[in-house]
Symmetry: C2
Subunit: 200 residues, 2 copies
DNA sequence: GTCTATATTTGGATAGAC
DNA sequence: GTCTATCCAAATATAGAC
């Protein structure tokens, strides 16, 4: 069954759009996400700047597409993480995946979890992409004995703290990254080994 | 004993410079440290942009002055932190001071501990300002039972993680900030209550 | 020391021809 | 869809008068 012409056209359009997006990530990795210019981005895909507007109505829409794609990559990776023999292992595996994804591409981490561009705010729809995986992870944490929201917040902050120290102070190294497993196990052990009170 | 005329002049120059620096912090707090323009900064102190060059040779020199000042404020606050009854309390007090300073002015935190401006790198001299206080804190940590560099890195990362989660997700709130004391105590307890092996 | 005027660069975005 | 040409805004920084 032959494709409609409009389908062919839109598939080409999609491919070009994806190519621009790839080039945008490359450029962001080189110069920082805030220092990316449409002129240079266009040059990288063999175009002039105005042609980009065929694919993205504005620069913020480009950021939005990058944000959504990055968020989707995180969500996919988290949900593709193999479960362990118990909830505690599954939680550890997911945390490792999050750390690996973060360290693998610090610029993506920056765009998703810090606020590097003052004028850009991701859409609620894009923000939602990660919520399902996060809710699942929270359930594994509960099963692993990290029961309260506060305990889970500490757990997540421990992971994030080591990741951000690694990225900020020694990108590409492992001084902080190599501590992640032990540090997270410490948190789980702390909360799992004793009953948690609801209030203090 | 009368001041030399050159002293009078330089004191006025110092005052104006300090006034510009204050206005720069105000502006950075409002717009973000990367979105600060010299035109608006000048307007805030009743000047035109070119006049600022009498006090700062370039915008990067202004950033450098801000960085140094912010670093000095952190160093002073840390070293003015009252000691506790033992090393563990002193360590906790210092960590609380660091967190309080961070949350009190997130833009200062950002300038000092993240890299918000791609073209700006602080001088080695400015970076050194915090080193003495950090080395002292490390000593208190050792006395408190947080002996290895890795253990101290985890301790610091726990504090930083909670601070950054608070700033990034809920500036002005306390969802993560209120967990700092307990989380840091958990880390100290973990390392202090058992002998630490040098390697794993 | 401060000003006006301006150089220079760079950015996002649009108009309209092809 | 892509281009050239251009607009418009904003930024840092400098020259030279006062």
């Amino acid at each position: 069954m032959a494709l409609e012409q409009s389908d062919v056209r839109s598939r080409k359009w999609d491919r070009t759009r994806a190519e621009i997006l790839d080039a945008a990530w490359e450029l962001a990795r080189r110069d920082g996400v805030g220092a990316m210019s449409l002129r240079e981005l266009a040059a990288r895909v063999g175009m002039r700047a105005p042609s980009l507007y065929t694919y993205f109505p504005s620069k913020n829409d480009l950021y939005e597409a990058m944000y959504r794609q990055g968020m989707q990559q995180f969500a996919d990776a988290i949900q593709d993480t193999p479960p362990g023999r118990d909830a505690r292992e599954t939680l550890a595996n997911r945390s490792r995946t999050f750390a690996r994804m973060s360290l693998q591409d610090p610029v993506r981490y920056e765009l998703l979890f810090q606020r590097p561009i003052p004028d850009f705010a991701p859409s609620a729809e894009s923000l939602d992409i990660g919520l399902t995986g996060l809710a699942e992870t929270r359930q594994f944490a509960i099963e692993a004995g990290v029961r309260t929201q506060a305990a889970f917040d500490i757990y997540v902050s421990m992971n994030r703290g080591l990741i951000e120290m690694q990225i900020a102070n020694e990108p590409g190294g492992d001084r902080w990254a190599r501590l992640i497993d032990d540090a997270l196990e410490m948190v789980v052990e702390h909360f799992a080994s004793k009953p948690q009170r609801r209030k203090r």
